[in-house]
Symmetry: D3
């Protein structure tokens, strides 16, 4: 009965196919559940929908001066 | 205050309209909460974003030989 | 290590930029965690994917007669 | 394949038993999925872990003067 | 940046330790993200908080007659 | 209608009270929604239920030799 939800930036279907297979195998081996009990959901995020340390992913590699301007906006 | 999150494959708006209404009614009747307290979120999944038993939904009805090829890839 | 998931109707990137920055600042100040420990995920919902009080958001401002027709459908 | 997550204040097991049964029936009827495809997770929240309109549920019925004191703290 | 949420029945810490390590390794290898970018949350469910096919896990192995009695209750 | 879910290590109720109030204020100001539309859920995690970089939080400050022993187990 493990239910796995994975948020990630967009990835090709091949990656999801392999991850689904291998994460399921891992859970079956470690938890001793039947494979059919494992459900996996991938949720792809746009780069503007994820932030670490207060900075959106889509802003992460922008030159710092622009970035500061953007953040100053709205205050 | 129940908050309900439903992951499902894409469905027409009519289905969501009926599910939202009936699940809310159910919760109001069973939990005795006011209807306005019930929030429901639908999240539609692409067939490549959901797996059961380690197999992506989009691969589920593929002929087995192709499928095995796909899974063998990436190791 | 706080992980924040926010479901909301679609908003411009500027709103998410400011919310990501300010919610992170709030958590750092109140919980005394390092900024890099805070992760924020925005999930935008379509108006047909959210219901309060049993009514989909996309139906909320429709004239009542239509709305009743819609809800009667499907029984 | 619908996966349903329900956050709610603590409820007796009888309520969950009925909700699990009836929500599953609803989904099967409306979405035409097999019953075994429906998974439901209940997550019970403590009253201090849920807020509406910025007020924790555990503070909701407190007399207003105390409540304001509490909220003023921490600024 | 993958964020993984895993709902499962209670398991000893050793299982979670191994799953956390191996799922992280899998994601790093397949998605080419740095290990520090992977966050994993385990949420343990009580047997009364999980249902498949409309039946709570805690009712799953009960003799059928009792089970039917329980379900009939509350209508 | 924003719904906010926050996973965090256990914190005193005072912290949640302030966070609920201030995150709601932020969302109201930035998104122009009514305060009653904002719902916030806190989910406290045990230290054995959260991992970053493949290491459970409860193992994070353990001396490295023990830690390696633990991880080697189970293969």
């Amino acid at each position: 009965m493990p239910i796995v939800q994975i948020e990630l930036l967009p990835r090709p279907v091949e990656d999801k196919r392999i991850l689904a297979k291998e994460i399921t195998d891992l859970l079956v081996r470690q938890i001793k559940c039947p494979p059919e009990a494992v459900r996996i959901i991938f949720r792809e995020m746009k780069e503007e929908d994820y932030a670490a340390a207060g900075v959106l992913r889509c802003d992460k590699n922008k030159p710092i001066p622009n970035n500061q301007d953007n953040i100053r906006v709205g205050r």
